[in-house]
Every structure is written in structure tokens, then in C-alpha cells.
Symmetry: C2
Subunit: 200 residues, 2 copies
């Protein structure tokens, strides 16, 4: 194999979900494209990487130098706060059309086996967010229906015990155990939001 | 969705074999990488696209400004010439370790339904290549075991009828009908090269 091909295949195969054969196929796809098309692709990656950041407040993705659309006052239903593991979960939930409240991204889930404890997640700022939104009535815990996600949900429930006036709920898992919200169908997400159960 | 994400997901989803959900996952993967890693990726694509070209002689991929390693005299067994559809087929065949002869890339296969006729392929230069290699004894036709690949094999056999002294063979299809050489196992390719049958 020639070195430029070797290198690009290695880089593409390092992307999640892509093996060496798919990577080779993608490399040859690039070769068939004209200069302009390849540059469009490269520019989109550069722009995405350099102009997108996480909101300090809720952890959602936002364009740099713009206000976070999820945190702009008056835009969302401030009686609800939905806790998710990843920023990408927000897109899946928004696509369901079932939810218009606030979000709080943890940037992961508790996983003692992987050495991920409470301090590695955006958990410490959760009480402060509750204080900041006096209209808040319910926290929907939408972590994945996995062991880690369930553990995290229980942890949140106990760390937030002081908020006696808040209702805590967990999205129903019409989602199969072990699956990931990020990749779920909009209809399944819709259903699991509607059928959410109150945590006692 | 924010515009930079929308754009990069659209670009990634346009790559072969990648849907919108995988594209979103890859975009988030980029976001997790540091500047340097993302630049390594982008540079590898740019370098590949700008520094790689097809050899005028055999049609294989080569680094620009370098001689084609498949055409350098004395490097390969010049009694054998293997005809393939795509430059990427060469890598699959080389990986089998079963073959050390010359190559001739057609850049496709005959497909009347798609409007691909003999003039759209690198067929016209095939007789000239035979004349250029007096040691040549056998032409192995390694087009895909598909209707188009088989049609192309038959076409080559009739257009090369003048070369009475050459043996023409077709790789055996231990490969399932309709599959593609590019994605086949090295062992299957190995076996189909060994079991090639002489065409009469």
C-alpha cells in the first residue's frame, strides 16, 4: 500500500464504528471527489471542531460566541429539568417533540469499574441549577437504561434528597435494557417520556 | 441542532456506508479530540487526495511524482497479468500473498444497463500492454464474480482472440456470486487464485 493511502485509512479506521475495509472504501470515495467537495468536507469538520463548545450552564452543545438556546430565559418550560448523560442525547430527545424543558448534561454516567465517580461528572452543579430556577417542579432523569445509567439515577435521587418539593422521575424503559438513548427511535423516546414513572 | 453540527453530520453521512446516526457519533468523536488529532485526520485526507493518482500504465494507485511500484521493471513476475475492476482490488489481491505479477485496472466493468460500455473502461490499452511485455504467458481475469464482471471477462476473451499464445484464466469463484473482491477475505482470494480455471 502506498503511504498516503495507508495513513488516511488508519485515520478513518480510528473513527468509531468504522473498520479497515469501510475506511478503505471511504478513502477511495474521497479520491473520486473533486477538490471542492473534499474541501467542503474538511471545512465542515474544522468549523465544527473550532466553533462548537459545551454550555457552561447546562452542558449542551452551542456555537461559540452565541447564547445557549437551551438556557435562554423564556424559551423553555422552566418547570422541568431533564438530566442526560451526553450532549447528543439532547438531540434525540428534542427530535421526539415530547419535551420542551431545561436540560442538564452529566457528560457520562457513574461507572466504578471504569473509575468514573461523581467528581468526574457534572453532578456538583445540579443543586445550584435547581436554586437558579425557582419555577422548577420536576427533574426527569433520562440517563441510559443501563447498569451505569440506573446507578447514576439512584445517586442523583439520594444526593438531591434535600429538595423535598421537587418530583423526581425516570424515563420509562420501553427502551431495551442496555440500549442507548442516543441511537433510539424518536417514537420510543416519545413513549418513554410519556410513561415516565415517579421515583419515591 | 446547531448549524455547525448539522453541516458536519450531513458531510459525514454522505460518505459511503455511513448513516445519520453513525455520522452524529463520529462528529461527537471529533469534538472529544484535541486540535492536533483533528488536524492529523484532516491532513491525512488532504495529502491522500492531492498526492495520490492513478498510474497511466496499469491504473493502480501511485504517489504523485513517484514511479508506480507495480510497473517498475524487474520488480514483478512479468509472465502474469491480472485484470481487475478497481485499484482497490489490487490491495485485496496483494494481501492474499498469492500473486506477484502485473496488473491492469479497468476502472469498472461492462454494464449496459448503467450505460457503461467498452469505451468507458481501460480496455483499449490492454493489447498494447501485452505487446510491451514479451515475457507474458497468462492473463488472469479477476473481475468480480457478478453479471457485470463475468460479462467483462467474456468481452476481454473475445477482444484478445488475436493473442493465440497467451493463456487466459478466470479466478475461481469460491467467492459467492454477487460479492465483491474488494471486501473479500485474504484466504478466499488466495484460494480463488490457486483454483483459477483456464478459459477456452
Amino acid at each position: 500500500m502506498i503511504p498516503e493511502l495507508e495513513r488516511v485509512v488508519e485515520q478513518i479506521a480510528a473513527l468509531p464504528g468504522i473498520g479497515r475495509k469501510s475506511a478503505t472504501r471511504i478513502a477511495f470515495h474521497f479520491l473520486k471527489q473533486n477538490q471542492e467537495k473534499v474541501e467542503d468536507f474538511l471545512t465542515s469538520v474544522t468549523q465544527f471542531h473550532s466553533k462548537v463548545e459545551y454550555c457552561d450552564e447546562c452542558g449542551a452543545l452551542k456555537s461559540r460566541h452565541l447564547h445557549c438556546s437551551m438556557c435562554t430565559p423564556g424559551q423553555r418550560n422552566e418547570t422541568l429539568l431533564c438530566v442526560v448523560e451526553q450532549p447528543s442525547d439532547i438531540f434525540a430527545i428534542e427530535a421526539s417533540g415530547e419535551y420542551n424543558g431545561l436540560y442538564h448534561v452529566l457528560m457520562g454516567a457513574l461507572s466504578p469499574l471504569d473509575g468514573i465517580g461523581p467528581d468526574d461528572l457534572r453532578l456538583a452543579s445540579l443543586p445550584a441549577r435547581v436554586h437558579k430556577h425557582p419555577a422548577l417542579q420536576e427533574i426527569i432523569i433520562a440517563t441510559n437504561p443501563s447498569i451505569e445509567g440506573n446507578t447514576t439515577a439512584n445517586y442523583i435521587l439520594s444526593m438531591m434528597a434535600e429538595f423535598k418539593n421537587l418530583k423526581f422521575s425516570r424515563i420509562a424503559s420501553g427502551l431495551a435494557l442496555g440500549s442507548q438513548i442516543e441511537y433510539a427511535d424518536a417514537r420510543i423516546i416519545s413513549q418513554s417520556l410519556r410513561a415516565r414513572t415517579v421515583l419515591e
